[in-house]
């Protein structure tokens, strides 16, 4: 399988009069986990949305597995899966139906859905409508939706958000599992300590720019105005 690295070169993106992302560059080798840390509004979500081809950068370039996120959007989308703040779910459909819809659109058969729901401990609520779900359960369901795509690259935006402690363990387990299968992972999170234990590299963003970059182990040492 070709290796899938993530490269960003002077990425920039603005919202109106403000730079959300400013001159961001980094390289994530294949099958590694990189943690993206930073306060609210530091640009973590914007970075992930650009890499997932959800939005276009205003300047700079980025590529996933050698495919440019603007010109080769289709190929990038085939490789990546995104866990986003917006959980991409249909409120009026049940958990199982949401996954079945995604499977249909991926051209995959529906039979793997039950097993995925079990993996995120939602098999008991498979036939309940998502509008009855708590935030944590929605996060689990969108996790299942990510796994359904069997991605080579995974972009996780606040994976621990709204989860209960068993949920945290679930996320750690899934990340380890994906990593073992050679998936390249980007984790944007505030849970520094947990993420640092799982990640190989770390990137710290502040006001849209990279203020620190290096091995995950040292990120705790990097004294950041919390």
């Amino acid at each position: 399988m070709n290796d899938v690295a993530i490269d960003a070169e002077r990425l920039a993106r603005r919202y109106g009069r403000r730079w959300a992302l400013r001159d961001v560059s980094f390289h994530v080798p294949p099958a590694t986990v990189m943690m993206v840390a930073g306060r609210n509004g530091a640009g973590k979500s914007t970075l992930l949305r650009v890499l997932s081809t959800a939005i276009r950068p205003d300047a700079g370039k980025a590529s996933i597995g050698g495919f440019d996120v603007v010109r080769d959007r289709e190929d990038v989308r085939k490789l990546t899966a995104m866990l986003s703040h917006q959980n991409y779910l249909y409120e009026s459909l049940t958990a199982k139906e949401n996954l079945q819809v995604a499977a249909d659109h991926l051209g995959k058969r529906r039979n793997g859905v039950g097993e995925l729901l079990a993996q995120v401990a939602l098999d008991g609520r498979a036939d309940d409508v998502v509008s009855t779900f708590s935030a944590g359960m929605r996060k689990r369901l969108s996790f299942a939706r990510v796994l359904l795509q069997e991605p080579r690259v995974v972009l996780l935006d606040e994976p621990y958000g709204a989860l209960d402690p068993p949920g945290f363990d679930l996320v750690d387990q899934v990340i380890r599992d994906l990593k073992s299968r050679g998936t390249t992972i980007l984790v944007a999170t505030h849970q520094w300590d947990r993420a640092a234990r799982l990640s190989d590299m770390a990137l710290v963003l502040e006001a849209g720019s990279v203020v620190w970059q290096g091995a995950a182990g040292e990120v705790m040492a990097h004294e950041v105005k919390a």
């Binding site: 920039a12 603005r14 009069r17 403000r18 730079w19 400013r22 001159d23 849209g208």
Partner: protein, 227 residues
């Protein structure tokens, strides 16, 4: 920049000459009497309105292919001028219809098509007003302009069928020769005026776009303002 004013001046001059001839020199039409003179301003406006719609249509397609904001600025100018001309045409048309048919609106296929497109373009201008993101506003108004412009011929033929059951054709197509002079002069008059307007309006749109899209400087000192 000065070119726009030259076009406008030329247009006004031609319009004055053409209108003078149309109003005072050209003979009154045997059936229509004086009312015929409205044609010397109505028909040129109609021809140029058509051009404005084609211009807007062209800009919309050009923008979708090149994604260059220059075309979006020109599209905005084209849309506004075409809407203004459509409004003017409807007014002139009803002023002409009142003495001729006794009603303010006689469902003439051409005029009805103008009215339909007037509302379609007003809808697009409203769309532009409601969307703040310049990129999206440009793409959506381009798409809407293409859809509305393609609709023009369809509206014309459907109204013509729909209307032909009640009344025969309302305005004589052929215009006798001695009426041609004021018509042509005014046609070019309105054309130059329109070109001038479009150039001015495009500049305004460019200024606004520049302000909207102005890249905040990438640099250290910017951080203060952000924090």
């Amino acid at each position: 920049m000065k070119k726009a004013y030259v076009f406008i001046a030329l247009g006004v001059a031609l319009l004055l000459v053409g209108s003078y001839i149309g109003l005072f020199v050209a003979p009154a039409e045997e059936y229509m009497g004086q009312v015929q003179r409205i044609m010397y301003v109505h028909v040129p406006t109609a021809w140029n309105w058509m051009l404005a719609v084609l211009f807007a249509f062209g800009c919309a397609i050009a923008f979708l292919f090149t994604a260059n904001t220059k075309w979006d600025a020109r599209l905005e100018a084209g849309l506004e001028v075409a809407t203004l001309f459509a409004f003017l045409l409807c007014c002139q048309g009803s002023i002409w219809a009142k003495p001729t048919w006794g009603v303010w609106w006689d469902w003439d296929p051409r005029l009805t098509s103008v009215a339909v497109l007037l509302f379609a373009f007003l809808g697009i201008l409203a769309l532009r007003g409601f969307v703040d993101d310049p990129q999206r506003r440009a793409v959506w108004s381009a798409v809407a302009t293409i859809i509305a412009s393609v609709d023009l011929p369809i509206v014309y033929y459907s109204v013509k069928w729909w209307n032909s059951l009640h009344q025969q054709q309302s305005t004589p197509q052929t215009v006798a020769s001695q009426f041609h002079l004021p018509l042509r002069i005014n046609a070019f008059g309105v054309l130059f005026l329109m070109i001038g307007f479009i150039m001015l309006r495009t500049r305004i749109a460019n200024y606004r776009l520049a302000r909207e899209m102005a890249m905040p400087p990438i640099g250290g000192e910017q951080a203060g303002e952000l924090a």
